[in-house]
């Protein structure tokens, strides 16, 4: 069964500091989704390997995205439970899909294995992915910033961009966030030095593999076409009313 356009699966564990990322991913999904899309989010205690694999099988999402702790060969979900490694037969479930792993180190071996298993694209990190925990999750720009940059890829895919367009947007978002902490409003923030360096490292270590032409959510074109016919319909109705009045007199 092929992956289905406009279908997204997001996995958002909360423990072991993963709430710092999952909270932002949840907000980004909420702000960027549209009614033509089928979106499933596995949050907190639902973010288990069993449920993720079950949804991958039954939903066949074109995009699979997670926040999780990772290594060169493995990525994990809630309570650091392993989802897959480079040898897992479940890698087959990634075939024809766009896979985003906001995890450490997976671009070294797991990412290439995912593409070898037939994924159309993979995005992840080849070294440690850093984030700031000096404030509570989701409460300040400092804790949000690394994930706002990372999840720009998902935001752009939800907006109908191709995989290469979303990757370009993500790199631009990294530059925007870095500029905020070096020359923008955050440059003299007590933690500005931390954030500038964290974002620089994450940007340098981010890796995109696979095809750039895939557009997981092509529906906005249809919506634009539909929207552009509304003024024409209104003009036709108004004209009809005017002609009716003229004829009546």
């Amino acid at each position: 069964m092929p992956a289905l356009d406009n279908t997204f699966l997001f996995v958002e564990p909360m423990q072991h500091y993963l709430n710092y990322g999952s909270t932002i991913l949840h907000q980004i999904v909420g702000a960027n989704k549209n009614p033509s899309q089928t979106i499933v989010e596995l949050i907190g205690s639902d973010a288990t390997p069993e449920k993720a694999l079950e949804q991958l099988t039954s939903l066949q999402p074109i995009v699979f995205s997670l926040t999780g702790h990772g290594s060169e060969t493995t990525t994990s979900l809630e309570c650091t439970a392993k989802l897959v490694n480079t040898e897992s037969p479940e890698l087959e479930l990634f075939k024809d899909k766009v896979i985003s792993l906001v995890s450490c180190l997976t671009a070294q071996q797991l990412g290439p294995a995912i593409v070898d298993a037939g994924a159309v694209a993979y995005i992840g990190y080849k070294e440690e992915f850093w984030f700031f925990i000096g404030d509570e999750a989701g409460t300040t720009r400092a804790v949000q910033s690394p994930f706002l940059a990372a999840y720009q890829f998902e935001a752009s895919l939800l907006h109908g961009k191709s995989t290469s367009g979303a990757r370009t947007d993500q790199l631009a978002k990294y530059d925007e966030e870095i500029a905020y902490w070096i020359t923008g409003d955050g440059k003299n923030d007590p933690y500005g030095m931390e954030l500038a360096r964290i974002l620089e490292m994450n940007k340098t270590n981010s890796v995109f593999l696979g095809e750039g032409y895939v557009t997981p959510s092509p529906s906005p074109t249809v919506m634009v076409a539909g929207a552009s016919s509304i003024p024409f319909a209104l003009a036709t109705i108004i004209l009809g009313v005017l002609i009716y009045r003229e004829l009546k007199q």
């Binding site: 999780g68 906001v102 450490c104 984030f131 902490w181 020359t183 440059k187 030095m193 931390e194 490292m201």
Partner: protein, 128 residues
């Protein structure tokens, strides 16, 4: 050569960056603030430092770059509150002093920070 470029560059920097060593001339390291003062005084070393800033270089060999990067990280991290500030998506957390240990022991994490600091220094000296 114009002092205005150096002045604009200096004013754009975050305050905390102004007192970290950045430029090397004749074996001595200069922070942006000391470099700015030398340039404004029009001293001989100021001319050399101005040339480095204008060309976006910091005048060091690879070994010197690594040494200055380490010094910068040490100076900065020692000033930070010693509570967990940093985390990774490989399930690790660090206080500034724990991160400093990684840098001093040149672990893979320490090397990641040191190498990034060299890139960061390039971004800072080329800021316009």
């Amino acid at each position: 050569m114009t002092k205005e470029l150096v002045s604009n560059w200096f004013s754009k920097l975050p305050e905390n960056e102004k007192d970290l060593p950045l430029l090397l001339s004749d074996g001595l390291a200069y922070t942006p603030r000391t470099a700015y003062n030398e340039v404004m005084r029009g001293s001989p070393v100021g001319d050399k430092l101005q040339a480095l800033i204008e060309t976006g270089r910091f005048g060091t060999t690879t070994e010197d770059e690594q040494a200055i990067a380490k010094t910068r990280l040490e100076q900065w991290l020692k000033q930070q509150p010693d509570k967990p500030l940093f985390a990774t998506l490989s399930n690790k957390t660090f206080t500034p002093s724990q991160l400093l240990q990684e840098i001093q022991q040149e672990t893979p994490i320490g090397i990641q920070w040191r190498n990034n600091e060299i890139s960061h220094m390039k971004n800072i000296v080329r800021l316009r």
